[in-house]
Symmetry: C2
Subunit: 263 residues, 2 copies
């Protein structure tokens, strides 16, 4: 296939990643051929938005050029086996940060990984240009094709191996999911005292912003890093009715103090 020819792209899955990828490709005037879901009704909803054909039988997918697997990690192996059975020959990539390339081993040299490091919600637009995309492939040729394909999304394209990508995903769980859970606990604490949760936003923004200029360990503030035992004790007392938050408070504070010993 040449770089300029209109490639037929198909997507397996209709979740958040599938939806954002499909919508963006459609906006870029790329040709989306099939949207697959075991429920053809679910496939139809997304297919209608991107002028594609909804299917619930993988065998139909055989004439597509680029196939993106956007299903839960545990379902990738099964999809891979079915594609092998129908002798699928096109380029195929899974989109999971936490799944090794090796799960596609039965698909030969035309298999790879296309992993956009981003937090996907149905409701919110993705800033693709700032989203790093990680590619990995079984062959130089497949890698090259994935790279050209990735340029539809972002100029930040990186080649990392599976072990590195898995670390990146684990790191993202801490930096994104767990941070967000910290926000959630904070909002619940404020709700209990009828304090406006939006008041925390400038502080949250500043904390994220600081990271652009220094490492997190250097930016750390608060009672733990100051080794202010009085405040630490008072805060734990305030959390008496929420023992699970109290335990998180203790562990996080201990971790911060271990990173920055009292001078």
């Amino acid at each position: 296939m040449s770089d300029h020819e209109q490639l037929k792209i198909s997507i397996i899955g209709t979740g958040r990643v599938a939806t954002h990828l499909a919508l963006h490709l459609h906006q870029q005037n790329q040709k989306i051929q099939y949207i697959f879901n075991r429920s053809v009704e679910k496939a139809q909803v997304l297919a209608d938005q991107v002028h594609a054909t909804a299917i619930d039988d993988l065998a139909q997918i055989n004439d597509t050029d680029i196939l993106l697997i956007c299903v839960s990690d545990s379902a990738i192996t099964q999809i891979s086996e079915k594609l092998s059975q129908i002798n699928y020959q096109g380029l195929v990539a899974h989109t999971s940060g936490s799944t090794a390339l090796s799960v596609l081993s039965n698909l030969g040299r035309n298999a790879g990984v296309f992993y956009p490091l981003q937090t996907f919600s149905f409701e919110q637009k993705i800033d693709w240009q700032s989203t790093p995309i990680f590619i990995e492939a079984k062959s130089v040729d497949a890698l090259h094709k994935l790279e050209i394909f990735a340029e539809n999304f972002s100029s930040k394209i990186y080649q990392y191996n599976s072990e590195q990508r898995l670390s990146l995903h684990l790191a993202a769980v801490f930096a994104c999911n767990f941070s967000n859970y910290c926000y959630d606990i904070a909002q619940q604490i404020l709700d209990e005292k009828q304090v406006d949760v939006d008041l925390l936003q400038p502080l949250i923004d500043a904390t994220a912003e600081k990271l652009k200029r220094a490492r997190a360990v250097e930016n750390q503030t608060g009672p733990a890093v100051r080794h202010d035992q009085q405040i630490l004790a008072m805060h734990q007392l305030m959390l008496t009715n929420h023992t699970e938050w109290q335990t998180i408070y203790q562990l996080m504070s201990q971790g911060i103090q271990a990173r920055t010993p009292k001078n």
Copy 2:
């Protein structure tokens, strides 16, 4: 004192909060009279920057109009006692989110709290206009003076009681300090595999940004909220050599799952 008269402001302490308050007031052409530190050399460093007099004896501070106590929480009581001994009559406010107004009870009706909710680092500029300031005072008169004073910094001035302010500070520890520790763990995970830590920044920004549009609990993504037990198990296995991170991973994931039960 009238609203327009040039008030003499003095600051007790030379730490991050003291420094940022003094520098901003000086930029606003406010008159900084004294900078106090038990080490006059330390006081001198900040005093030089804001054209103030460095002192190490609190008795000298008696002729100032507005006195800001910017010391560690545990030292506020001691400062308050000394000010009472010298019969200080001006307006005095501590700047701590985690200390009740009642610690200034020996200073009469001219005492209050001036608490800017912000994360202060020596190296980084403060966006004062977006910084909420929380005031509380023993008398309506003192509250009014603090409000006028706070307008030097921000238009976001809120009157909350001590209990609410303490909750806000506790919430800020979760939303800011603990989030930052999550970033720190993420960076350490990436360092071990030679992956560029800056790759996480767009995700971190997006996570903070999402909070402007929906509650944290609604924004949650990741393997825990998806109840993806396979990934959760794999991640914990990857953390075998970091048992303290492993425990944090478990607790945070359990907390996220308890908030958003499997449907």
